[in-house]
């Protein structure tokens, strides 16, 4: 136990502050403020792999590491779409996952947001469209924000999530 505590103390706090030096970071800060205002530090995310190669999932995992510390920003991953405000979807949509994606979307209460992570979810990527792949997520469910990349970095995914929350009030009123 002593060793565990010692290691925690020695490791210190790794979480990186959001610096305000450049435009992207300033935008991020603004979005974070909007996030706090809109969702009151309680954005719940349900991740859905609609047919990904698992590369994007690795970077989604990374958002929970001590450097990005997503939970510290009030964002957490939940086990059921029924608890979620936002679906974080990776693709392409395989035909074998189309129904599950629809059902997950339908099970998520309104108002809801959809953020697509990765090139495959954006356009089908290297897999394209075929008998087995429907291509982009937007062909199956409405999408708010798309984060390109193969895979996108954790910072890019975070920016996408924050970008979607900024759109939340208008969509919320519509639904």
């Amino acid at each position: 136990m002593l060793e565990v505590l010692e290691r925690i103390a020695r490791g210190g706090l790794l979480t990186e502050p959001v610096p305000s030096a450049d435009a992207v970071r300033r935008e991020q800060e603004r979005l974070q403020a909007a996030l706090l205002e809109v969702l009151g530090r309680a954005l719940c995310i349900r991740h859905v792999d609609a047919g990904s190669c698992n590369g994007c999932e690795l970077e989604i995992h990374a958002m929970n590491n001590p450097y990005y510390n997503l939970e510290g920003a009030g964002i957490r991953f939940v086990a059921s779409p029924r608890h979620a405000d936002l679906l974080l979807v990776t693709g392409p949509v395989s035909v074998n996952m189309e129904e599950a994606l629809h059902r997950t979307y339908d099970a998520t209460p309104d108002p809801k947001l959809v953020v697509v992570v990765g090139d495959c979810g954006a356009c089908g990527g290297v897999f394209g469209e075929s008998y087995a792949s429907l291509g982009s997520i937007a062909k199956v469910i409405p999408v708010d924000v798309t984060v390109p990349g193969c895979p996108p970095t954790p910072v890019a995914i975070l920016q996408g999530i924050l970008g979607a929350t900024r759109k939340a009030p208008s969509r919320g009123r519509q639904t």
Binding site: R7, S52, C56, E57, N65, F77, V95, Y131
Partner: protein, 515 residues
């Protein structure tokens, strides 16, 4: 025992490892080879089919067998017009799912096997076989999923828990059907194929030089292993030898891929046993490694670093020193965390005896890679059949015999430390020179194999060349095919709440299996 089959014709095998290619045109030779391979201690590594009706009116079935010191590829041409062959499921249990997939993709029925669909969930018509040459790559169908006939378990108090395909964690999709009494698991049946993206058909639309990008995305956590396997297969059919510096850099990123995945799993295993400290600590180490990757090779996950003929770019001048300097603190942190894991009573209580897979069963089921090495089967391609640069590195294979979650944790620790050593040697002895050479188009009809020991186990790419630099057929095989069935046995008698932990201790690929 079947009668002695007639002799088969042998040919050299084009591959990055030692091997033979055998032609077995008769049914008896096909099954006879399987039996003699089994008797010789071989594992069935992969099974795939090709539509050669445009050539000689035949379909062909290929089986790749893995022996300790060589790979044997058996080619079985079906009689003209025939669409069935003798199944190998009674000799090698793993053949069952492979044969079901061959049927779903090519319409070739294995006699004597399970006839339920595996990759086809009803989303394309029963009479459409995507890998047949007359099936257009652009075909689209209306999705229409059909119920899957899970095997039912009956008895007092037995009930079923269906899980998936969308899981509670941030993981890939698959369906698990638990039959339980109270909390105890009586049976687990997996249904996979949800992420089937038509990889094999897609390969045929790409050129030989483009294929690596798709291979890297068969299973994203094994991008380097699959990229290298693809390039090794292409280099084998074109007779290209990559420069020594390129081979060393490939091994460097492969070992870093192994370290990154093991670190992530070690953290997640701690977390699944209620020790969040482990997750935070290991994910921190993993992030440090990924950031160093971005500095050294231009990407946190170097999907497209290994390319035909070598690697996409050389390391920056300062990278070898920077990467080397990072290894020592990483090693010290891993040793320290290993001590903490080993001495943590609560953690060991969850790890030990959980999800146990005995050596004999692991052997029967054809376990591969780290799961096999945790159950006393000391196979590792880097050790058994070293290809450059492993032939000069003398890598050591991890080996544990207990076969439980604790053993799979220990194998990961051992492998992280060994990979750190390999990285250190590679960085200290980087050969000078070019990092890539030109790769010409392969002669049509050549067939080559690339086998690479990825972090999960051996991955295979079989590349059939077409004319003018085209891909006639490309088959990718992930060791998860072999290891998913292990999980169905390892969970037996355990309680449902231990499933996430046991599942994570194997951490198998859905995408790699589904294809």
């Amino acid at each position: 025992m079947s009668p002695t089959p007639p002799p088969v014709k042998a040919m050299p095998l084009l591959a990055n490892v030692r091997g033979r290619r055998l032609l077995a045109p008769e049914h008896g030779q096909w099954t006879g080879m399987a039996e003699s391979m089994k008797a010789g201690g071989a594992q069935l590594l992969a099974l795939w089919g090709t539509d050669d009706r445009d050539r000689d009116d035949r379909f062909r079935i290929y089986a790749a067998y893995l022996l300790r010191d060589e790979v044997v590829l058996v080619e079985h041409a079906l009689p003209a017009g025939a669409t069935s062959y003798l199944g190998l499921g009674t000799v090698f249990p793993v053949a069952d799912r492979l044969q079901r997939s061959v049927f779903d993709l090519l319409g070739l029925r294995a006699e004597g096997g399970d006839e339920r669909g595996w990759l086809r969930h009803g989303s394309w018509p029963e009479a459409f076989f995507p890998l047949r040459r007359d099936s257009p790559a652009t075909a689209r169908f209306r999705t229409n999923s059909v119920p899957y006939p899970f095997v039912a378990v009956a008895g007092d108090g037995v009930h079923e828990i269906p899980v998936g395909p969308v899981h509670a964690g941030t993981i890939e999709p698959g369906n698990f059907r638990f039959s339980v009494v109270g909390e105890k698991v009586l049976r687990l049946e997996e249904r996979l194929g949800y992420t089937h993206k038509g990889v094999a058909k897609r390969f045929e639309q790409l050129s030989q030089s483009e294929g690596q990008r798709l291979a890297a995305r068969v299973s994203g956590d094994s991008a380097v292993a699959f990229s290298w396997a693809y390039c090794a297969a292409l280099e084998a059919v074109t007779g290209v030898t990559v420069p020594a510096r390129a081979a060393a850099l490939r091994a460097l990123v492969l070992e870093r891929e192994r370290i990154a995945n093991h670190l992530g799993d070690l953290g997640a295993l701690g977390n699944d046993a209620g020790f969040a400290f482990g997750l935070a600590q290991f994910l921190r180490l993993k992030e440090d490694l990924l950031r160093a990757n971005a500095q050294a090779v231009g990407a946190r996950y170097p999907f497209d670093f290994v390319v035909p003929g070598g690697v996409a770019r050389d390391l920056a001048a300062e990278s070898p020193a920077a990467l080397t300097a990072q290894l020592r603190p990483l090693e010290q942190a891993v040793l320290e965390l290993r001590r903490i894991y080993d001495e943590h009573a609560g953690l060991q209580d969850r790890f030990r005896e959980a999800g146990r897979l005995e050596r004999e069963l692991a052997g029967t089921l054809g376990a591969l890679g780290l799961a096999a090495r945790a159950s006393g089967i000391g196979r590792d391609l880097r050790v058994d059949q070293p290809w450059p640069p492993y032939d000069r590195l003398a890598p050591k294979a991890a080996l544990r015999t207990e076969g439980d979650v604790a053993a799979r944790v220990q194998v990961r620790f051992d492998e992280v430390l060994e990979s750190i050593r390999l990285c250190r040697v590679l960085l200290a002895s980087l050969p000078e020179g070019a990092v890539a050479v030109e790769v010409p188009a392969a002669e049509p009809d050549r067939l080559g194999l690339g086998l690479i020991e990825g972090w999960r186990g051996p991955v295979l790419i079989a590349l059939h060349a077409g004319p003018g630099g085209a891909i006639r057929r490309c088959h990718a095989h992930d060791p998860s095919w072999q290891n998913w069935p292990l999980l169905e046995f390892a969970i037996l008698g355990n309680i449902v709440p231990d499933f996430p932990l046991i599942n994570k201790s194997f951490n198998l690929s859905y995408s790699g299996q589904d294809g």
